[in-house]
Subunit: 238 residues, 2 copies
């Protein structure tokens, strides 16, 4: 079963479009749980177990594990998710972006070491920085497209004079992910939830790829959904 099939099956099974982000920030833990790597695991596993009947994807953010030397806990969490929630695909939020030989190592980290079903990637270094992930034919990759952080405009919202139709950079990426970069249907796009009109624009340019839409939870984006559904997983971060 490919990542996209797994995502679709979970969507039908759970009647939901919810992706549950697992961002274990120790400062937000209940008192007494701060900083201990084992608590990072406990926190994430408890959230997953409380939402596993609704989620169509889990999305652990690797930075929160890496900052605390908690890679063994992330490995344990991935095993737990697979064993306890076998129908829910796992997207490793890593936003990697590097050249071919290094990307091969990152793909190995995400898919072989951690057993993720998909990964988030930056498109900044171009297609050959994405290709090594696509060699894993049953895996998926979500490219950063339009992020809703304050600096998201800095580059993503620039208009390209050198591309036909003068699209914005994020519109250009949406087209690449729908078409030439997506030969085997493995790509998705990350589009922040803050500006629904931009989500609609991305959906118009990339009608069939899954959209990962962060920002419903702690990040304070506006309420979902926009005026019409986009057939995409939502996202709620803890």
């Amino acid at each position: 079963m490919t990542f996209t099939e797994m995502l679709r099956a979970a969507q039908e099974r759970h009647g939901s479009m919810l992706c549950v982000g697992l961002d274990p920030e120790p400062a937000r833990f209940p008192a007494g749980l701060k900083g201990d790597p084992q608590r990072i695991y406990d926190f994430c596993a408890a959230i997953a177990d409380a939402t596993g009947d609704l989620a169509i994807a889990f999305k652990p953010q690797i930075a929160y594990f890496a900052a605390h030397g908690a890679e063994p806990q992330l490995e344990k969490l991935m095993r737990h998710l697979r064993a306890s929630h076998p129908h829910v695909p796992v997207i490793l939020d890593a936003k990697r972006g590097d050249i071919g030989s290094t990307a091969e190592q990152y793909a190995r980290e995400a898919f072989e070491r951690y057993g993720a079903d998909a990964v988030t990637l930056s498109p900044f270094m171009g297609f050959d920085s994405v290709q090594p992930y696509l060699k894993y034919g049953d895996k998926g990759a979500f490219l950063l497209c339009r992020t809703s952080n304050p600096g998201g405009d800095d580059l993503q919202n620039q208009r390209l004079a050198s591309v036909e139709g003068q699209p914005l950079l994020y519109e250009h990426i949406a087209r690449l992910a729908q078409g030439p970069w997506n030969a085997n249907g493995q790509l998705g796009l990350v589009v922040g939830a803050t500006y629904p009109s931009e989500i609609e624009r991305v959906r118009a340019l990339a009608p069939t790829v899954p959209l990962l839409i962060p920002g419903i939870g702690a990040r304070g984006a506006m309420r979902w959904p926009p005026s019409r559904p986009v057939g995409a997983p939502m996202h709620r971060s803890w």
Copy 2:
């Protein structure tokens, strides 16, 4: 001592502009050393010890450690570099790029956990994805600007209609790193060695920031230096 001062001091002490990349690809190890995390450490430490009198920076690539679960060996390597080569700053090649709260975790990983002096970053998500690293006032950050991999053109070489003078995307990034994004002089730029004319262009737009120029070694870029020096560290990967 700030990162930039440390880099400059090493440059004077060693009369060199060489940055030694530590990319421990097990397939390139001498026979018998394949795959064992301890060998990853041995391989990198041996290269560092053989080049420490010439190098003005070491640059371990974290993907090669992460793929093999060798974070403890990277920690050990960083301790070894600090102890045996205290005058040579260490750039952690991680190419991170994420929003503020997650970037704080990655900054903690690079600077507190691993004790790196600088890190490589992707500018794709904008200035607030860079800021958390700059809060460590004595540390440096090299932004991806113009990379010489085949897909480097895909986005970096697009011309921006919406920026004064219609620069290419990488030229825009060079200007940001020289000016508005670089209040405390902590930024540098990553510029591939393949096209010397582009290095000269970046140097013209960003005359004072250090340039990290990968591609002299295994990656097969043309011979260095171009016609005139750019006052930047070179880079040799193993």
